[in-house]
C-alpha cells in the first residue's frame, strides 16, 4: 500500500517537475552573470537593471497593460449586457447566437488573428482611411474576450431564480433598478470571473496580436517573439521571472478569495 502511494507521489512529482522545469530555468538564469543560456557564472541582478532601463520593453509592457485593461473593461460591459439579453432570447435564435459566440473560443488563434487582419485591411483599403495599430489591436482583444465573458455570465444568470427580478419589480423597483440591485449582485461572481479571464487572455495573447497590430505597436508577446528570433537577451529572463511572480501573487490572492467564498457557502449551505 505504501509502495503504491510512493509510486503515485513520485509520478505526480515528475509531472510537476516537467511543468515547472522551464520556468525554473528561466528564473535561475535571470540571475546569471554570464550572457550564456547554458553556463552558470555567478549571481547578478544586472539583467533586472537592464530590464528597467530598456525603453522598448517599458513601451511593450505599457501597451500590454493598456490593451489588457481597456479590452477587459469594454469586453466585460458588452459581454455582460449581451449575456442578459441572450438569456432572455427565444430558444432558436439563442442557440444561433451562442453557437457563433463559441467560434472564437473553439477556432485556433491563428485563424481568429488572420481573419481579423483580413477584415481590417479590407476596410482600410476599401475606405482608404486608418491603419493597423493600437486601435485594431484593442478591437481584436475585445473581440476574443467578449465570448469568455458571456460564457462565464450566462451560467450565473441561469442559476438565478426567475422570480427574483419580478420580485424586485413587485416591490416597486423600476426595471433598471431591479437589474442593478438584484440581478447584478447575483451575477457578479460570473462577471468578475469573466473579467479576470479576459484580462489574462489579453496579457497572454500572441497570435491574434501578431496578426492585427501595425508597424511600431508592440506588446510584450510580440516583443518576446521578435527577440526570440534574433537570439534572446537575458533581460527577458528577468522579465519573465517578474511576470511570473506577479501572476503567482495574483493567483494566490484569487485562490484565497475562492476558498473563503467556498467556506462561506458551506457555512450557509
Amino acid at each position: 500500500m505504501s509502495l503504491h502511494k510512493a509510486v503515485k507521489k513520485l509520478y505526480l512529482g515528475l509531472i510537476l517537475f516537467f511543468l515547472y522545469a522551464p520556468i525554473l530555468v528561466l528564473m535561475v538564469f535571470s540571475f546569471n552573470a554570464s550572457r550564456s543560456r547554458a553556463n552558470w557564472e555567478g549571481f547578478t541582478l544586472d539583467w533586472y537593471r537592464v530590464l528597467f532601463n530598456d525603453p522598448q520593453i517599458a513601451l511593450a509592457l505599457r501597451n500590454t497593460l493598456l490593451i489588457g485593461v481597456f479590452s477587459t473593461v469594454i469586453a466585460t460591459a458588452i459581454g455582460t449586457l449581451a449575456a442578459v439579453g441572450i438569456d432572455k432570447m427565444k430558444r432558436r435564435p439563442k442557440a444561433v447566437v451562442m453557437g457563433i459566440s463559441r467560434i472564437p473560443v473553439m477556432m485556433p488563434d491563428i485563424v481568429t488573428g488572420l481573419s481579423l487582419m483580413v477584415l481590417y485591411l479590407f476596410v482600410i483599403r476599401t475606405l482608404g482611411i486608418g491603419r493597423m495599430g493600437f486601435t485594431t489591436l484593442l478591437l481584436s482583444h475585445v473581440m476574443f474576450n467578449v465570448p469568455y465573458v458571456i460564457l462565464s455570465v450566462i451560467p450565473k444568470l441561469r442559476q438565478i431564480d426567475a422570480n427574483l427580478y419580478e420580485a424586485a419589480l413587485d416591490l416597486g423597483a423600476t426595471p433598471l433598478r431591479a437589474f442593478v440591485q438584484v440581478i447584478l449582485p447575483e451575477i457578479w461572481p460570473g462577471v468578475v470571473t469573466g473579467a479576470m479571464l479576459a484580462f489574462t487572455l489579453s496579457i497572454d495573447d500572441f497570435m491574434v496580436s501578431f496578426f492585427t497590430t501595425g508597424a511600431g505597436v508592440q506588446n510584450l508577446s510580440i516583443l518576446i517573439f521578435s527577440m526570440a528570433r534574433r537570439g534572446v537577451q537575458p533581460q527577458i529572463n528577468a522579465l519573465s521571472t517578474l511576470m511570473f511572480l506577479v501572476i503567482l501573487a495574483m493567483l494566490f490572492l484569487i485562490h484565497k478569495r475562492d476558498q473563503r467564498q467556498a467556506r462561506k457557502a458551506k457555512l450557509h449551505g
Binding site: E166, A167, A168, L169, D170, L171, A173, P175, G269
Partner: protein, 362 residues
C-alpha cells in the same frame, strides 16, 4: 361588497397554445380567493396577469374600476409571494423586508419600525441580520410574507406559497395565513393545486381547467354542488357514473331509477352522475336500489372506506359502520345527494359554469 379586481374577458395565447380562454373573474375587497386547478390550467398565468408580469392577449384588468393593463408591475398597488419565495440572496432578512420601502425612499426610522413590526407579525423577531440562505423553508416563507406586507399592499398575490413546505408546516402556515388575512383585512389571491388547502383557507374558490374557470363559489357550495364531473373529481372523492335523465326529478343510472332534485334536462338526456362516497348508504341487500358485493375494506381512522362492486362499477363508500369484505349488500342514495350534471364535452357546460358562477356564490 366592493370589487377590487376585475378580469374582463381575459384571454392569453402563446403561439398556438391557448393558456387562458375568455376568463371573467372579479375579486371582492378583503376576500380570500383561491384559484384552484391542476398544473397547466392557467391559474398561475391568471395571477401573473394580475401582478403585471404577463400581458393578456385580449381583455382587461381593472383595479378599483380602473384599468391597470398598462401599469408596469412596479407601479401596481399589490405584492406577490413567489413560488420558492424569490428572496434576494445578497441581502439579509432586514434588507429583504426593507427593499420596497427603501425604493419608496421612506425615512430610516419608519423603515426600521416597519421591519420590526413585520418580523414580529411573522414571528421572526431577532432575525434581522441573518442571511436568507441560512433560514429553513418555513422561515424563508415568513420573510417573503414580511417583505410583501411591508409595502402595505391592498392585494396580496400568493403563487403556490406552501408547495415547498412539508405537510406539518404547511398545515400550520395555512392557519397562520388565514388569520393574518383576517387581521390585516387585505385581499388575498391564492394559487394552489391542493384542493384541501383551498377548502381550508378560502372564502371563495375558483376551479380552473384548460384555461377556463369551471366553477366559482364558496368552498361548501363547490364541494356539495359541483357543476360538472371535472370539478367533482378534482374536489374531494366521488363516484362518477353515466346516467340518463328520464324526466324532471327522475334519473336512472347503475341499472336503477332514482328520485332526484334536478330538472330542466331534455327527456332521456345523457348526463354525468356524481355521488360522494360518504353519501352512499349501505343497507341490507333487499332494501337497496343497487345490489353489490364488498370487495375491500380499508380502515381510514375516522371512517372505513369500502369498495363495492355492483354490475361492473366499483363504488367507493365511506362509512363509520363497516360491512365485511365478501358480504352482499344493498346501496341507496337520498335524492338530494345525487348530483346530476350535463356531459363534460362541448362548450355549453363550461360556459354555463362561468355564467352560473355568480349565482352559486350567492
Amino acid at each position: 361588497m366592493n370589487r377590487i379586481i376585475d378580469l374582463v374577458d381575459v384571454s392569453m395565447t402563446y403561439g398556438k397554445q391557448t393558456v387562458l380562454n375568455h376568463v371573467d373573474l372579479y375579486i371582492n375587497q378583503n376576500e380570500f380567493l383561491t384559484l384552484l386547478g391542476p398544473s397547466g390550467c392557467g391559474k398561475t398565468t391568471t395571477l401573473r396577469i394580475i401582478g403585471g408580469f404577463e400581458q393578456p392577449t385580449t381583455g382587461d384588468v381593472l383595479f378599483n374600476g380602473t384599468s391597470i393593463l398598462h401599469t408596469p408591475p412596479h407601479k401596481r398597488p399589490l405584492n406577490t409571494i413567489f413560488q420558492r419565495y424569490a428572496l434576494f440572496p445578497h441581502l439579509d432578512v432586514a434588507g429583504n423586508v426593507a427593499f420596497g420601502l427603501k425604493i419608496k425612499k421612506k425615512p430610516r426610522e419608519v423603515i426600521n419600525k416597519k421591519i420590526a413590526d413585520m418580523l414580529r407579525l411573522v414571528n421572526l423577531e431577532g432575525y434581522e441580520s441573518r442571511s436568507t440562505l441560512s433560514l429553513s423553508g418555513g422561515q424563508q416563507q415568513r420573510v417573503a410574507i414580511a417583505r410583501a406586507l411591508a409595502n402595505e399592499p391592498q392585494v396580496l398575490l400568493l403563487d403556490e406559497p406552501l408547495g415547498a413546505l412539508d405537510l406539518q408546516l404547511r398545515k400550520e402556515m395555512q392557519v397562520e395565513l388565514k388569520n393574518m388575512q383576517r387581521e390585516l383585512g387585505i385581499t388575498f389571491v391564492f394559487v394552489t393545486h391542493d384542493q384541501e388547502e383551498a377548502l381550508t383557507m378560502s372564502d371563495t374558490i375558483a376551479v380552473m381547467n384548460e384555461g377556463r374557470i369551471l366553477q366559482i363559489g364558496k368552498p361548501e357550495d363547490i364541494y356539495n354542488e359541483p357543476k360538472n364531473a371535472f370539478v367533482a373529481r378534482f374536489i374531494g372523492e366521488s363516484n362518477i357514473l353515466e346516467g340518463i335523465m328520464r324526466e324532471d326529478f327522475r334519473v336512472s343510472f347503475a341499472n336503477a331509477e332514482f328520485a332526484c332534485i334536478d330538472k330542466g334536462f331534455a327527456q332521456n338526456e345523457a348526463v354525468d352522475i356524481v355521488v360522494r362516497p360518504e353519501d352512499v348508504r349501505i343497507c341490507a341487500q333487499n332494501e337497496g336500489r343497487v345490489k353489490g358485493r364488498v370487495t375491500q375494506v380499508i380502515f381510514k381512522g375516522v371512517h372505513y372506506e369500502m369498495h363495492v362492486e355492483a354490475q361492473g362499477f366499483l363504488w367507493k363508500i365511506h362509512s363509520t359502520v363497516q360491512a365485511p369484505a365478501g358480504e352482499e349488500v344493498g346501496l341507496d342514495i337520498a335524492p338530494d345527494l345525487i348530483h346530476v350534471m350535463k356531459k363534460e364535452n362541448g362548450k355549453r357546460n363550461t360556459e354555463s359554469g362561468i355564467k352560473g358562477a355568480e349565482g352559486s356564490a350567492s
